[in-house]
Amino acid sequence: MGYSAFKVFWEGLTGNKGWKPVWREPDPKPQYDIVIVGAGGHGLATAYYLAKEFGITNVAVLEKGWLGSGNIGRNTTIIRSNYLLPGNQPFYEKSLKLWENLEQDFNYNAMVSQRSILNLIHSDPQRDAFARRANAMRLSGADSELLGPEEIRALCPFLDFDNARFPIQGALRQKRGGTVRHDAVAWGYARGADMRGVDIIQNCEVTGFRMENGACVGVETARGPIRAGKTAVCVAGSSSRVMALAGMRLPIESHVLQAFVTEGLKPTLPGVITFGAGHFYVSQSDKGGLVFGGDIDGYNTYAQRGNLPVVEDVCEGGMAIMPMIGRARLLRMWGGVMDMSMDGSPFIDKTHIDGLYFNGGWCYGGFKATPASGYCYAHLLATGRPHEVAGAFRLDRFRRGAPIDEKGVGAHPNLH
């Protein structure tokens, strides 16, 4: 079923009776060319690009709960490509380019809104660091610009420019950054994959891997065994638990990140704004709520909820740059479990076990990576070679002394 303005108009006139479910609910077949474990954003994107770009449609996506029930449904929806390191920046720029054409590509309204992202600058050394970052961004073809306080004042008059401790001296802006309707991303990819013949099987937990002669030949599931030419794990948040079923230990710890949304307000924020002297970021959803967050809680956890000290820290960050946020009432707050890797960067790689592939370690930056993660994982699965922009995301990079550490804090997952 395609979508068009005419279709919306016609359905409106005829009682909206013609809309049908946009994906099937098939029973698992005994065998597939590729089985993807995890129907989150990245898993569904992988299935979509496998079918669309690489012509592989004998694919199943297995999901323990319901489609899109993990972090694709509980993030703060920001897209951007303002990274520094050469292992990262081209990948995130590829992702942003895919975001820009996503809705036309899968004919689904994901509400991609390039409303810009402002990273505020509060000191001279920070301006130098952001100028360097702005140049690094341009090397990969991304856009970047440095703004002075007067330009920011015109955009965001409500910020606390003359804060005694953290005055706002400028900002790094990426105009092409913005926000996306996160659930619609999962739905759009699911629909696109399903239309091309991919089986999306919900309520089908993977309970083990089938091994023959040291190679992975499929999975055991709650709905029986399924054989697979290649098994592609894509379960960020639960990576360690799933890969432990194959006897692997990962360079990953699970941590909780909290997020918050206020009551709906009239249009206030021109885009995404981040605090440069603490950890706080905020945007405004199309419904009007201010969506914001900050640091992870900092201790290992699989509970999808956090503790109060970090709530206080996030709110202090908000008050420091945007005192008016203190007048907004909080509507909801929630937590999601992050794969925090040892250098703050992800993995898209084959494992040492033949037939078993791994995608994870996205820290708290997985949402913006969804299209490129799916595309590059599909490329790896289809061709056996990493995509050129994802070649650094290898599992053995620590052993080789080649971490991709944007923050430069070393092997401390809770500091990335």
Binding site: R241, R249, E253, A303
Partner: protein, 95 residues
């Protein structure tokens, strides 16, 4: 979370810095044949337990002791708190 410090009594977890898995107490032997592999595992690989986990917490805003806290990562419930020194000694470490 409240951590029941063995010397100071119940303290707010916000006074502590989190280090991670208490396996980090067991530093590998740097003179062993397979020291490079062992240090790679020690530095970078984690069990990342879902359930009861022994972990290191440092009382930075307090008496600056290292503690081994046994905590459930699914519920945040803390079941035991010991001085890391005592745990290391029990595992046969010297000082």
């Amino acid at each position: 979370m409240i951590i029941d410090h063995p010397l100071l009594g119940p303290r707010d977890a916000a006074e502590f810095v989190y280090k991670g898995d208490a396996a980090l107490i067991d530093r590998p032997d740097w003179q062993a044949e397979d020291a490079a592999d062992k240090f790679h595992e020690y530095m970078y690989l984690r069990d990342n337990v879902a359930g009861e986990m022994a972990e290191l917490w440092y009382h930075e805003h307090g008496d600056r002791s290292w503690l081994v806290v046994t905590r459930n990562t699914l519920t945040h419930k803390i079941t035991s708190v010991e001085l890391a020194r005592d745990v290391a000694r029990r595992r046969g470490r010297g000082k």
